[in-house]
Point group: C4
């Protein structure tokens, strides 16, 4: 990662803002245009697949394109013994950037659609089976991201992570938030994609639990991590293309 | 394939569970949100395309990402004369892992949506033209997987197999189960994607027949297999990336 | 192209059958499940995108994956002065295989859905603006296929051609048949995707005209073809992977 | 860029015509087939994703596949100090070609669907929050295109730009015109995708403002541009494949 921490944190903030703007904005557009909730979620999920894939391909080489405190923490945890992994200082810059960005994204979406800029969501999401959905969604996300790195396919992350979220919108009961920053950001809009503030803490707890399960599953399926080899140890966190100007 | 048989079987179990959780879970979500069955199947099929592609790209390097006894058996059959193909012992580990995983996936989906964890499906699927659909669906799947290996394009399998299933949801009358393990797993949920236990045996028989036709078609279109060359003989079963940590 | 003409013609027949089975079958399924014609065409077009991309990636290395007499004729015409292009004998084998395959595909789709195996379509498609749609659809298809070869991107054909047809389903008034073999095949089914026999001749004439326009556009945008260089002159017709067993 | 300016301008004209034909034509088809506006926009946006991706992969090696005066101007501005960037003369050829092409595309779509060839749109799009949508849509587009070039991923532009527009149809309130030539072309059709002439000037002003913001964001996230290195400086404007006939 050749970019300065400032630029990397900016990339995380801009990317998180764009992600939430896509999720919230497409939700508003969909509810304005259709009365079939299935059609609404189709539009919402497809827009997110398209947008998230683009954000990862664009910002991945700068910051790793986490946009997600759970991913940042897991990356720090799994790489903490390697000299070139994410440091605690990186985490302390990334996480606030993600939360601030996610909040700004919700406000921007509201502004684009002429909604009140900030209004607490009244969308209660507190049923227990929704929390199970969040555990599963986050475990799968972590398994995917860290598993891809283990099999040398981190280059497939933009398409794979976006596709995963597209599936998880539908197969999990919670429509797969799987991201504490996005969860917080979505409290600020009282529209289709919002979540009531009272539902946030259990959602984040479920996401944390899911991340732990995801790391355990990664170790189970892909084996314990070998001793760090310098070369690609942080392929996940950023690809070397930014410093290498030309693509072969 | 450098992974131990235990880890490979675990990958097959986790992948099969995830596949059925995607199919069943997205079916439940879709029926909860829309009353247009066309919209329901659109959501169900798109979620499956996204999910299946991700599972193949993630687990392919570990176990070959079969998630399907018919594929495992066909891989064993076509590679039985080659020293490095799938062995009978592998088959004996893969198939139970796939069936157990598929069943767990259906239960997990039910749990995420607050449905009874286990309830036999009452969805009768016994019409003869549905069985023809299963023959066609499975023949096409086998032709695709083994044909891709024959033309040196096994690397395209994640996108190609997922896309095939996305098409087959719609162009076959049975919505393309094409997989005995998934068929069994889907008996345990009385929701959109379920299948009544009484319809299972004919479905599996049709799938077996389809697999035989698919292998025959593969030989017809791509020619008889040449004498085994060590290098890529089992490109289908796993790519060498797991042991080669860095991707160029 | 290392495959024998017999195997190449078989690939064209099987591929054309599968293509029409996808188009007709998904049309029947869609009309059975939804009453919203927009949803029906969404399902029909997405199934075709998925299916066509798979067929091109699978059969391209064998026969070039034309599945379309207009493409075969244009490939013969543009390569006729090169020793290694498609010969008249190839054309004489490909075109009947495509028509026979397309017809079989329609019958197979009818059988899978319990429809009469053969019943002439009553779907009249004779309005003049539909013919303009076919001219545009075919011109675009030919421009795409031969343009990709000219810029050295024939490897992108599976995704690009499938995506093009997905767009053309919607942006042309005729829903883009753009293929005489498929047009003939679709007369044999009186379902969503059928075309009345009386509409066939004008459709094929429009497709031929579109192909000529497409070749003229290709020359205009990409320049006249340089003197043939042995190496990749027929990249369009088949990639060398079939004979090279291993993919790097 | 080895192609003559004449051929490059022709590529811009044909590509812009095709893009608007896709947008307008699929809009007409969708409104003819469905009464659910959500389904209409799903069809419209998916057709555009498919069509735009194809156009970029096909014409990128010839002209850079801008199809958009804002992109052309930004490319000229950012590359103006480099000897091999876009020149003012190029801009003077590209922009009129784009506007003429976009207009022709709208007329062609009308013709294909039996609509009056030219009729001013009555679709008023003058609300302030729509203009904010255009600012955001264009800023994001410029950030994506120039950011991809900065991280050496210009090769991903066909899929990434098409996906971005697919998301922006939904997450911006204006459905993301983000293109002055397309905006002008869409005044000539009184159908789903039209825009009333009176709404054009504010839209274009918003797009210009968005482009400036997009370039500022690009500099912020990806850093100031280094001194030009000959090799890939204009990877954005065209890839060298046209002159290199064979793809490895």
């Amino acid at each position: 990662m050749s970019a300065s921490l400032g630029r990397r944190a900016l990339a995380e903030a801009v990317g998180s803002a764009a992600l939430v703007a896509v999720v919230v904005g497409s939700g508003i557009q969909a509810t304005e245009l259709s009365r079939d909730v299935g059609v609404q979620l189709l539009a919402n999920s497809l827009a997110t697949v398209f947008g998230l894939g683009v954000l990862i391909v664009l910002f991945g080489p700068v910051s790793g394109a986490h946009f997600n405190p759970v991913v940042t923490l897991a990356a720090w945890y799994t790489g903490r013994r390697e000299g070139d992994g994410l440091t605690a200082r990186d985490v302390a810059a990334y996480v606030p950037a993600q939360v601030a960005g996610a909040t700004a994204g919700a406000v921007l979406a509201d502004a684009m659609f002429g909604e009140p800029l900030v209004r607490w969501s009244t969308h209660d999401r507190s049923a227990n089976h929704l929390l199970l959905g969040e555990v599963v969604a986050t475990a799968g996300l972590v398994l995917l991201i860290f598993g891809l790195a283990r099999v040398g396919r981190a280059h497939a992350a933009p398409v794979a992570v976006a596709s995963y979220i597209g599936a998880a919108y539908w197969f999990t009961s919670s429509t797969s938030f799987a991201n504490p920053a996005v969860t917080i950001g979505r409290t600020f809009t009282d529209t289709f994609a919002g979540i009531a503030p009272g539902s946030v803490a259990p959602f984040i707890a479920a996401q944390m639990l899911g991340a732990v399960l995801g790391l355990a599953l990664t170790a189970g399926v892909f084996g314990r991590r070998p001793a760090p080899a310098r070369a690609d140890a942080i392929a996940l966190h950023g690809e070397p293309e930014l410093t290498a100007p030309s693509h072969p």
